[in-house]
Symmetry: D2
Subunit: 424 residues, 4 copies
Amino acid sequence: MQSMIPDYLAEVLAAVESDTSGELAGYIPELAAADPERLGAAFATVDGEVYGAGDIDTEFTIQSISKPFTYALALSDRGFDPVLAKVGVEPSGEAFNEISLERDTGRPRNPMINAGAITTHSLAGAADLNAAERVARVVEGLSAFAGRRLRVDEAVCASEMEHAHRNLAIAHMLRSHDILTEDPRAVVDGYIRQCSVLVTARDLAMMAATLANRGVNPVSGERVIREPVVRQVLSVMATCGMYDAAGDWATQVGIPAKSGVAGGLIGALPGQIGMATFSPRLDVHGNSVRGVSLFERFSADMGLHVMEVPPAARAVVRSNHVVGAGTEATRVLQLQGGVGFAAAERIVRELVDTAPEEPTVVVDLTMVSSIDDVARRMLLEVARRLTLDGHEVYLVDPESVVPEPDPGDGGRVTVLDDVAELVR
Amino acid sequence: MQSMIPDYLAEVLAAVESDTSGELAGYIPELAAADPERLGAAFATVDGEVYGAGDIDTEFTIQSISKPFTYALALSDRGFDPVLAKVGVEPSGEAFNEISLERDTGRPRNPMINAGAITTHSLAGAADLNAAERVARVVEGLSAFAGRRLRVDEAVCASEMEHAHRNLAIAHMLRSHDILTEDPRAVVDGYIRQCSVLVTARDLAMMAATLANRGVNPVSGERVIREPVVRQVLSVMATCGMYDAAGDWATQVGIPAKSGVAGGLIGALPGQIGMATFSPRLDVHGNSVRGVSLFERFSADMGLHVMEVPPAARAVVRSNHVVGAGTEATRVLQLQGGVGFAAAERIVRELVDTAPEEPTVVVDLTMVSSIDDVARRMLLEVARRLTLDGHEVYLVDPESVVPEPDPGDGGRVTVLDDVAELVR
Amino acid sequence: MQSMIPDYLAEVLAAVESDTSGELAGYIPELAAADPERLGAAFATVDGEVYGAGDIDTEFTIQSISKPFTYALALSDRGFDPVLAKVGVEPSGEAFNEISLERDTGRPRNPMINAGAITTHSLAGAADLNAAERVARVVEGLSAFAGRRLRVDEAVCASEMEHAHRNLAIAHMLRSHDILTEDPRAVVDGYIRQCSVLVTARDLAMMAATLANRGVNPVSGERVIREPVVRQVLSVMATCGMYDAAGDWATQVGIPAKSGVAGGLIGALPGQIGMATFSPRLDVHGNSVRGVSLFERFSADMGLHVMEVPPAARAVVRSNHVVGAGTEATRVLQLQGGVGFAAAERIVRELVDTAPEEPTVVVDLTMVSSIDDVARRMLLEVARRLTLDGHEVYLVDPESVVPEPDPGDGGRVTVLDDVAELVR
Amino acid sequence: MQSMIPDYLAEVLAAVESDTSGELAGYIPELAAADPERLGAAFATVDGEVYGAGDIDTEFTIQSISKPFTYALALSDRGFDPVLAKVGVEPSGEAFNEISLERDTGRPRNPMINAGAITTHSLAGAADLNAAERVARVVEGLSAFAGRRLRVDEAVCASEMEHAHRNLAIAHMLRSHDILTEDPRAVVDGYIRQCSVLVTARDLAMMAATLANRGVNPVSGERVIREPVVRQVLSVMATCGMYDAAGDWATQVGIPAKSGVAGGLIGALPGQIGMATFSPRLDVHGNSVRGVSLFERFSADMGLHVMEVPPAARAVVRSNHVVGAGTEATRVLQLQGGVGFAAAERIVRELVDTAPEEPTVVVDLTMVSSIDDVARRMLLEVARRLTLDGHEVYLVDPESVVPEPDPGDGGRVTVLDDVAELVR
């Protein structure tokens, strides 16, 4: 049997291939000379599987798709406060090259517009790095996201430097506000090198999958960034990633995303998947025309919109019954599925409503597929309260979904591998 | 046993109670005269349970919290295109009372700023309603979200009308662009009545829960809006709900939300919960000071941020083994947990990698707690491909998580209630 | 002999007649129905002579040309401070219908944009006038400028009210900032009546001539406004009169001016002339196409640019000689031409350089055509200093260009009708 | 006798001396270290006399006062069209360092804001100059205005270059729009050298007097720029010279002016005088506090406001009488004073109204102190028409105020030195 995912990708590529609208980025010859017909799409799963169709191994420059990853590096290397002090997180509703600095402070509105991205570049790596070391840190960091050693396209880089007047203007403006504290030319030079890193759609899918996988590269297993940084980066991609089309994207696609002027486009869905497309012709917002179409299809076909209400789950309490009688009576709650706050609330309510009078209460987690932190804490608090009410409490947890259960102050639980250990 | 949720709510209220910073909305006497010490918080689950602490039954005016709900009504009553033609979805990065119209068209940037909300009000109900009928439609719609008959505070309403010059300015400007096509005064009057609807924190939590519950009121069971409208409304709340603090909120709280100048604040998490707080003192953005603190705690304590990577689930393929041998050999895949695209991909991959040679393949869904549409389609495609490869395919699905399975063109599956029916 | 001025006017009208570019104001049917071919030009001198060619007796609505005159009335009726507190004097560089309010105060940038003009209307007449009385005051004031009883075009007025949404928006915005303190609808209604006053090019030339003539209507002799108000109004016309083409106008035409959307255009040169043209087709700035061409010709042909350096005058000291000898010796300075600060400085210098030793000094003003206040004061100070130096000082001033000369503290002058009275 | 002008200057300096409000420009140490108490004022007449009081020989850097003069040089060296294509003339209503570029073209709004001034610098001298040659051209040009060889303050210049980030930002932005076509750093370097030219209040008064004197340095007699350039520069100073206080200045002072951040301030009144003050403390607009006060006094005390209505002149027609009778009858019009358009109109009207029947008409210009071009043409046209009507026409013009009079087509005039030559 063959997987249907490559078939699906090939099918959607075929569906958009005839759309030749849009224009190549024309501000430097190297981009204007790109092959406009290139088209590829790749998915990377959080355990490292890559599916692709079309031109997924063609190299092109990463351009603005480097922005969220460098933002992640800056947050990692400097911490949240120093970065937030210099770059905001508010959507600007403006085009990528708008200056969009806060009136008094000169702080760029967000790290996805050029002003913010230039500032972010200057915050990657330790504060005492020189310009070349900073570029090395960024290229090394982008490589860690991709899981292979990436390199700079020197021709594009040189050409961009010759047309960097707007970015130099922005950098000098930032320097005048002391948002940048280094030589603006050196920072722009480094930023352009960052943007000139060569990637493939396959690389980009893996980079996105590293975000989706809590900051750990699914193949190399390297933790590139910590989880709070992932959350911050995805949040900013969700609100500011698509420039002045951010709201359209948020409503119609609903996947945290970022586009680049060379035709790349990525999306990352937390816990699920990294996606990337490549098609060089751009719309008026500077986003890949066919890339946007592809993501609209991905979102619609696969129900990936972050505001999609998840499917109604089977009741978390699979059964609630009593075994035995008298002092031997045991109340057994068999749970199932994923347990988050809402499911935990339902479990708590079941027990409150049931008001168990049996001396023993067993919560059977065998069929629970996942449980999050708050649900874990709620279950332990239930156990504590049942203990205080005089019950003996057992968790059946053969795979330790609740590791080292400690209900705290006055509570006590005993862990079993099988309900049969207790109930005959 | 008592539920710990009311305890939790009481605890977080106590934690923020001492914060008396911020100011009452002062532009009309009725709001300036509110009791600044009021404080309440309520949760409503998607099956209708309400938890609360503090002043959750005190009535106050809904104000801007009416905006997302009226937007939902307009989308329902008129359809997406007519509404999107008149009101955009882009974050403005501006304060609630900025005019923020698109330069040439005069289209308001989004439905959460006043210009967009006034326009949205005019689009609620059928096009041929008169002003009073439109207000009736809106109040009836808000009531349906809340699950009880709401009413207008006539004193607040009258007072707001006297201080409505900015809104009248906006409405006349909209009229001059033909975004409004009716008498601007009548529309503003209706909009102010909409904002003067009296609600409690309990009502607001239920209204939010109706969004979280795919548009169906959890108690009354009434479908108030359809799912695509829910998704649209939540998306816009996520990007534009908190005005010029939208980015801060998106990164720090990460819950689609909306605040009102009378001190209300709601949040809705798709499939999980509706939340509401009430505390009248406002920060410079016009958001409730203690309300913002409470939501920051809710998000952090309960891991409710939409960009939170969900907990790693137990492997979706619980077991993959062969029973019997030769022509009797049966490959059994036992699945578990919730199955979305990522899990379905994993199942597909398992089968592709396994390349089963056994004549019979059984996919056991007994322990699957939920399955979404794309996963269902992928499973059926797997079944089809296995059939074409010469296998006999069975689904064990006692609770019909895959109702009426039809793998299509050349495929065939047989549904069993128990794997034991086949495998002895 | 015939005057060549009507010939000149006819000639320039003929020169621009073939230019049919531009569009009629189309926002109300009454303006859109105007005869686009109408063309007229009129000059009114400061002593009341009117020259004209073409359609100078056709009535049309005054529109924005009412703005500087109503500003003059407001300054007269309320004084400078209350008006400046509500309306600024800074050019906005924006179109006429931009809102352009100062960020915090809501004060309109200047009285020539609609926001400022609406505010100005509300400041005409005493503070306790009702809306109808205010309109009456404005129409009466405009009539005084024109020297005949003007009336409102009720059809245009009614039609404008139906399309007044942008002005209503502006007025409500002004009301929300307490720049307007009355009912915004009543103020807009009054403002539209002001704009609907019917005038001819002849009227407009006379109104402009009233400004040029220090605020006194050249024909009726009525002082409509005081000189400081004239100066203020002309200054604001010079910097803000032509909206976003103010700089082009200031450099190329250099005449304080104001245009109206019905096709009128006026210019006023202090002390010299009032000018008006009428041609309804407008350019993108809302100024009459042929009117602008005509004024460019007037300015170039007649050297009327306010920054034109005036022609070099013949030396103010026509002769400086001594008559008689010994104790009879008399130093005679014969002056000529207009004497302002620069000429007075020259006279002072002549005397300082001459260092007259003759006992008697005669300053002969017979051939002085005009003398301004500072020059008068300088001459008297010269006389005082000469007296203190021991000279006997005489002014020959048969026409009293220096009335009641009093050199003050220690000075003394004797006035003669003819130098021959003293010098034989 | 002593002139009272130095006394006046000393008196007004004394009046403002106690005002120590405002702040030194603090952005570079060299300016922050200036002596804040310095105070001086100088007047230069159009024939080269300089009056001064206080610190008029203290050198300081010219800063933004170089802008109008460099604009004049650019207009001279390149012509109007190339300069206007790159720099507008519209007031921006914004602070000096606002970017204020036109949305699509990137053209700076006017030459008085930094963006316009940097562009203007690049347009001084021939297009093929290198950066050093351009600076040399500008310094040489400023020197020609001042009438002495000026030099650059290298310390200030070096220090400004270190803090030039905002100007570099502006220059790179201009380069990105192809408004600048050279290396932005070199242009900013040159611009800063231009701003670092050392001048005294005496120099500035002379530079202003060169503008007032039609572009000819009153002392050296060198024609620095032509008259149309003077008019353009004065017009732009009048509307844009005082940044965001342009309207206040235009109404209250009414003298074309320019301020510099080192404390200089100049004003130029066409045909009359150049003025300069020096006092380093600045107001929030960046204008010298005491400088502004001094100019307010100059304007009020001396009636120098450009919108001041000039004093009513004595009637231009001094007498209109007939000498002789019959075929000997001669109509004599004796004129006096300055003759511009308004006076010429009065003369024409006198003759039209008089409808002379005498065979001979004499126009006696002996007492005419000045006559401008349009008046000259009108007089000659009068002569032509009188000739055609059969009159013999004589001009009495001993000082040739109408040189080589040629009334054209069919007209004929005879020039006399004295009316007595004709009339006995």
